[in-house]
Symmetry: C2
């Protein structure tokens, strides 16, 4: 959007359910474009739990990768009703009427994603959670199914959140790395507005490597816990250099962006192989090593692919990893060791709860779509040009 494009404030709700399929997050925000900057205010948030029955049907469908068409139709309805319940739950809890909401943007639940396999061929994707049901139950104009339009233009249909990162975090003079640390860690590099204007540097986004995935797997293995709260256990252990050396040889780290990774490369089987190779290392030493490794893959990715091209003054960390003090401290130490003067902030410093970041992102994507403005970033998705994502239900 150009800096001259002021807009009237609109109230938009984003709905998101991630790959963990544990609930639908709703975020209602007031959005306005003033003098080239997105002004945002989060008005309300809400989470609709995913009933076990629906969750297991979804997980079965995603694991089998094969589905009966009646089950697919039925799941599309059931998930659509859940997304509608999330919207209605937010409205009821905060006493907000349909007339007060300009638009709902729903990501839906990804069931399958099939990115383009070669240049010139189109990929496909399947998000369910029928948006017509959200429109019917809430009475609010609904926009859904954002990914296919990018893929029709040759894109990967992902990442889409970088569009929101650009609007939420672009500063006039300061370049930022928006670092999400979920299971996998991914970064959106948002150049300062000035540098972008001068040198037309694009926004880039890529997966830096593992996020909490390896640490969580080790916590389950050694301590039967889901995660290492605050990185306390990692802080008690010692880094094992032999393990670290093996980890740092992972071929993903040298690949040039754009690149994505996942559970296939950094999941439990990868860790199990290493555990067998180093049977004498203690649990807390594993945690210390994996914590350090995760921090180093992020900082190394910046050193290899970001700092040579972009001036970055701030890192904005989000996701579960933002609450891992050991991880944040290590990143700070590594950045300083490289003579980088970079302040580490969190999404909370910008008034954004980590849990609702993606729901907010889809509110922003829907807001742009409603205003008929392109809302993919071809430099991030690989699309041949910018397009207006989202299917509108009037």
């Amino acid at each position: 959007m150009s800096r001259a494009d002021n807009t009237q404030p609109l109230t938009v709700m984003g709905l998101m359910s991630g790959t963990s399929v544990d609930g639908v997050d709703a975020c209602l925000a007031r959005l306005e474009f003033v003098a080239g900057r997105l002004q945002y205010e989060i008005l309300a948030t809400y989470t609709q739990d995913m009933p076990d029955a629906v969750r297991s049907r979804l997980l079965k469908c995603m694991a089998d990768k094969t589905v009966h068409l009646e089950e697919l139709c039925s799941l599309n309805v059931a998930v659509g009703e859940l997304f509608a319940d999330a919207a209605l739950g937010l409205m009821k809890a905060h006493n907000i009427s349909a007339a007060q909401i300009d638009c709902i943007g729903s990501h839906g639940q990804t069931i399958y994603h099939w990115p383009p396999t070669e240049r010139g061929k189109l990929g496909g994707t399947l998000q369910i959670g029928e948006p017509s049901i959200i429109a019917e139950k809430t009475g609010v104009y609904t926009i859904g199914d954002f990914r296919p339009r990018d893929m029709a233009a040759g894109g990967q249909g992902a990442p889409l959140v970088c569009f929101a990162d650009l609007l939420l975090f672009q500063d006039e003079t300061i370049g930022r790395c928006i670092q999400n640390i979920g299971g996998i860690a991914n970064v959106t590099v948002v150049p300062s507005h000035q540098s972008q204007k001068q040198s037309e540097k694009p926004v880039i986004a890529f997966d830096t490597g593992p996020g909490n995935m390896l640490m969580d797997a080790a916590m389950t293995h050694f301590f039967q816990k889901a995660y290492d709260e605050n990185g306390t256990i990692a802080a008690q252990g010692q880094i094992n250099q032999a393990v670290l050396d093996v980890l740092l040889k992972h071929s993903y780290l040298e690949l040039k962006p754009p690149k994505t990774t996942g559970r296939e490369q950094f999941g439990a089987p990868f860790l199990n192989e290493l555990l067998a190779e180093f049977p004498d290392v203690s649990g807390s030493d594993w945690l210390a090593t994996l914590n350090f490794y995760t921090a180093q893959t992020i900082v190394d990715a910046y050193e290899r692919f970001v700092f040579p091209v972009y001036d970055v003054a701030e890192m904005v960390v989000g996701g579960g990893g933002a609450y891992n003090d050991t991880l944040l401290n290590t990143m700070e130490t590594l950045l300083k060791a490289g003579n980088r003067s970079i302040a580490i902030k969190t999404h909370a410093d910008f008034g954004i709860h980590d849990k609702y970041k993606e729901a907010l992102a889809f509110a922003i994507l829907a807001w742009a779509s409603l205003l008929r403005r392109p809302n993919n970033l071809p430099e991030c998705t690989g699309a041949s040009h910018s397009v207006i994502l989202g299917k509108h239900i009037l």
Copy 2:
């Protein structure tokens, strides 16, 4: 729409692929609402053949009723590209640019339809042929996926064409039965505008019973031909009263509308049972009998369910059956025998090619959606209220 609602003329293309999966029909029409009447002019038509490879994948998916999610994503892309090719083919053949078209309305290819099983529960449906790809390849504003919005409002998601029948065929003083004779025969009863105003009689639509399905199956069995051209063979045979008596006992005929039927009730297995029961009847006698039966089920349906409620002066026949002279003659004879003074016309009498009727209907549905006007008929679909069907890709 109210009679006062004049509109500017719009140029809209409809795209349709039916259950036979043999090609994508495209129909470009100029549509305008003047003094309460739809003015339509068909500007161009085109058919994009379905490549055998895509057709067999679609038929396999529909037969298996189970699909790998990658195949579903891939088919959604392949069929979307075919629909785009149909639109581009029409544009190229008639030298029409994207700028001359206001909107494309695409039905997509139905893969599965799962109507609501009980009152208060929602059904689902699955049409593929990604409309984002049509928008990308043509550069034209595209509306797709019409059925889910009706189903979100509790409807069957069908029939949708009756909305177009109402706009195309409603007369000021004359009531009409719009009789489609495809594999199955279905009627839309369009009351005159005057009678609708006076007594608020709704449009009704239902399947009258078999269309060409039984005749075609007998032609294949006895003559290894796909259909009885002009009803020539039927005209050479004699009606077998014993067979006819059995056929007329079919329980579907007495069911009150709204009702739908299909291949499950009037397909080859049903005929095969009868063939075994009456092994001595000749092929031409079977054709004569089935032709007469088809005509009688249509006229009987009118006598039972239409004439007691509606004043009908014209029957407008469409579909393959419109070219079966023996069938049309029998219907005329039966109507006269019931002292009904009803003129039998065809879609061609209204300037509409049978082959492109459904594509035209989806142009009309998209046109209404673009004008933000409700375009389902709840009295036909069972929806709890009228809604604007279609998902808009900007």
